[in-house]
């Protein structure tokens, strides 16, 4: 979510500090996992806002011009392209995509974590996935 390991470490530390400082606020009507995840996601969003270094949401096909012939993509290269496409997503779409694609969370659980309706999350995820798919098509990854 934060695009770099150093940033991730900062967010992780801040998340753990917040968890310990606010442990008495945890309500047992939600699961501990969801509560922790919610704090972590909120910290990530806060961090990203502070940094204000959102990458352009427009993908740049010229980055991969040399592979436009559509041949010779290794797994590592494809994953690098995918990573670039994910990083280019707007912050909220990227968070939703990561929770669904990497963490394999259900929409209901994501809804509790992000405090957003399931419908809105589905739309956000579909939108993010479509953007990535379009980028893959643009660079001729089949």
């Amino acid at each position: 979510m934060t695009r770099s390991e150093d940033d991730t470490r900062d967010v992780l530390q801040e998340t753990l500090v917040k968890v310990l400082l606010n442990a008495d606020r945890f309500k047992e009507n939600s699961s501990l996992y969801t509560w922790l995840y919610r704090i972590a996601v909120n910290e990530s969003i806060t961090f990203l806002k502070k940094r204000n270094r959102q990458m352009t949401s427009e993908l740049d096909p010229a980055q991969h011009e040399q592979q436009d012939a559509g041949v010779g993509w290794t797994d590592r290269e494809v994953q690098a392209v995918l990573k670039t496409a994910i990083e280019a997503l707007p912050d909220k779409q990227r968070i939703v995509f990561n929770l669904r694609y990497f963490e394999e969370l259900g929409y209901q659980q994501m809804s509790e974590i992000l405090d957003t309706s399931v419908g809105s999350l589905k739309a956000s995820y579909h939108h993010a996935v479509k953007k990535i798919e379009n980028h893959l098509q643009t660079v001729h990854i089949s």
Partner: protein
């Protein structure tokens, strides 16, 4: 990947569904979690200490109350008034240094030490109104004195002599 998520992905983005999902787990050094635990606990302690520490305000902070200028003006006016009253109010009388001294003794002392007194002091003390120090001076001598000193004497002194 969960079946439900994989099917959803195949429907929306078949190319993405075919790509092997990259690993999102970053590698960290062996001591990372040990240091993380220490860092987190130190940070928690610091923030808790900052949260319960009473705020100590310096006296100078009370001088800046920009939110209520009318209140500040009122307080300043009141303080000025108090200072003015204290400054102008006669708090004590000058001690009467001549109390208990016989009048003749007092005049004798003044005549002997006339050089040490200012004329204004003698007038204020009411001495010259009762007995002029110039009574014993001859008129001719007094006129000569006046001609010599006329420019140095002020109106009060001239009135006194004449």
């Amino acid at each position: 990947m969960k079946e439900e998520i994989r099917k959803e992905l195949e429907e929306i983005a078949p190319k993405l569904a075919r790509i092997q999902r990259p690993s999102e787990t970053p590698e960290v050094e062996n001591t990372y979690f040990h240091h993380l635990r220490i860092d987190v606990l130190n940070e928690v302690k610091a923030r808790e200490a900052a949260r319960i520490r009473p705020v100590r305000r310096g006296w100078w902070t009370y001088l800046s109350l920009p939110k209520k200028p009318a209140l500040v003006m009122m307080a300043a006016s009141l303080a000025l008034l108090v200072v003015a009253v204290f400054w102008l109010w006669p708090t004590h009388e000058e001690p009467d240094v001549f109390a208990g001294i016989e009048t003749d003794e007092l005049y004798a002392y003044i005549e002997e030490n006339i050089d040490e007194f200012e004329l204004s002091e003698l007038v204020e003390a009411g001495i010259l109104s009762q007995r002029s120090l110039f009574d014993d001076v001859e008129t001719e001598n007094l006129e000569n004195y006046l001609q010599e000193e006329i420019e140095t004497l002020d109106d009060e002194e001239l009135n006194l002599i004449l």
